[in-house]
């Protein structure tokens, strides 16, 4: 039996239910985008440029949610010491990095025509960038540590500290920019845009959950292949 075949036999984390869920998530995303674009009137100042909100804002929300998922699984790993929690935390971190990068990119595309610049040292932008870098550090740590247990424990510690740091970074860059000024309140959203945003928030949530699970499946299969290779190298019967 080949290692790959054995791996699928051992792991088999990929179930029909998740495939169905994945299809549902993507169809729901397409439907939500279409609905939001169709029902929202063009913005008074930005015109149709406003439509980018339906990808940028939900993506930003997932950028907040995904690191929280890392925190939860990292804490659960240190508590229960199950390898699955470590792999789930790692998968969530990968997805969090992706969403943080996506949010930054979409924000820049939006900022260029509306603000006239690609980047400004605003608290939200700066803290999202720092969050992206913290997550990149987490992934680098995982890539550079080979020992399995060591990688799991270290990345749990780094994930937890990083998650603690995220709100601190946000507040500190806000104070850095605005220590003398009053904070301007976020503009209230017109009801015409609320439904589109809500639908897309759920669509992005489903996509995020699906992505995390898919990365987790891949990690489980890789892990099973490693186990199988070890067993084969030791000369034991690997069937």
């Amino acid at each position: 039996m080949t290692t790959a075949a054995l791996a699928t036999k051992v792991a088999r984390p990929r179930t029909r239910a998740w495939t169905v869920f994945g299809w549902f998530a993507f169809l729901f995303l397409i439907a939500s985008q279409a609905t939001a674009i169709a029902i929202s009137p063009p913005d008074r100042d930005m015109g149709d440029l406003q439509k980018i909100m339906y990808v940028h804002v939900p993506s930003a929300w997932m950028t907040m949610l995904a690191p929280l998922t890392v925190l939860v699984f990292a804490l659960r790993y240190l508590w229960k010491r199950r390898e699955q929690d470590d792999l789930l935390a790692a998968s969530a971190a990968e997805v969090a990095t992706t969403f943080a990068g996506l949010t930054l990119m979409l924000g820049m595309i939006w900022a260029r025509p509306t603000w006239g610049v690609w980047w400004t040292w605003d608290a939200r932008l700066t803290s999202t960038l720092v969050l992206f870098l913290i997550l990149a550090g987490y992934l680098a740590l995982r890539a550079l540590v080979d020992d399995r247990e060591r990688r799991a424990q270290w990345s749990a510690a780094v994930g937890i500290l990083g998650a603690i740091n995220v709100p601190i970074v946000y507040m500190s860059v806000r104070w850095w920019r605005t220590i003398h000024q009053m904070q301007s309140s976020p503009a209230t959203v017109d009801p015409a845009y609320v439904l589109g945003l809500r639908l897309n928030a759920f669509a992005f949530l489903f996509v995020m959950v699906f992505f995390i699970h898919r990365r987790y499946e891949a990690a489980m299969i890789e892990r099973a292949a490693e186990h199988a290779a070890e067993a084969a190298a030791l000369g034991g019967s690997s069937t």
Binding site: L78, V130, L133, I134, A136, G137, A140, L141, L144, V145, D146, D147, E149, R150, Q153, W154, A156, A157, V158, I160, L161, G162, I164, N165, I168, V169, M171, S172, V173, W175, W176, I179, H180
Partner: protein, 228 residues
């Protein structure tokens, strides 16, 4: 009683580290020379405009300390690993956080001394006027140094035992240090400018709060980092 024992262990480790440094001096000297070199390079980057250099003095001093400090943090664990001494340290009875506290104390003394030299050079090179509120400035420098060394020592405990440690430590440490560095730089800048707006106190309190949060978090998390 237990806490007093831990304190004694931490002091012993710090003393051992500092004695090693004092007897060889090679590590400390090269790190200080590097810090001063970075300071000079900042001077070139900001041009011959004295006013521009002086306005950026707080940032230049802290960044020089940061870049040079990274080497010190990795080194403090690297010396243990080279001698195979870290395993022995871990095998000794008592809580592992005493090892962390000891490394922290040793690194703090190292970085504080380096920072003192960097500031002396910076004051001369950048024509910085030492403000009348220099005791407050010392407090900010102390608090900033605690934050820098706490996170630096914690991440070095991992990075120094991984592949590509030279890259990994800055990659992990720099983004995490953003709040500490921001508060330290802004506080220092305010004081060097005479603290006209009166926000140095606010930055100092913020810095103290960050220090407490990171000290507690790293002391708790170190157990998981060192045991594997």
């Amino acid at each position: 009683m237990a806490l007093r024992d831990e304190w004694r262990r931490a002091r012993a480790i710090a003393w051992k580290d500092l004695t090693t440094e004092r007897r060889s001096k090679a590590g400390f000297n090269s790190v200080v020379v590097l810090a001063v070199t970075i300071l000079v390079l900042f001077g070139f980057a900001l041009g011959p405009d004295t006013q521009a250099i002086r306005n950026a003095a707080a940032g230049e001093i802290w960044l020089s300390a940061l870049f040079a400090g990274v080497l010190a943090f990795n080194r403090s664990f690297q010396l243990e690993l080279d001698g195979g001494a870290l395993d022995a340290l871990i095998l000794y009875p008592g809580a592992r956080r005493a090892i962390f506290a000891g490394k922290l104390l040793g690194n703090f003394a190292f970085v504080a001394l380096m920072l003192t030299i960097v500031i002396a050079v910076g004051v001369v090179l950048f024509q910085v006027r030492v403000p009348a509120e220099w005791p407050s400035l010392l407090a900010i420098l102390f608090l900033g140094c605690v934050g820098l060394v706490t996170l630096g020592t914690f991440y070095a405990a991992m990075a120094s035992r991984s592949r590509a440690r030279e890259v990994l430590l800055p990659l992990l440490l720099f983004p995490m240090l953003v709040p500490v560095l921001l508060a330290a730089m802004e506080g220092t800048k305010a004081l060097l400018g005479g603290d006209i707006m009166g926000d140095a106190g606010a930055w100092a309190r913020l810095l103290a709060a960050f220090d407490v949060v990171f000290l507690v978090a790293t002391l708790l998390a170190f157990e998981f980092v060192i045991e594997v």
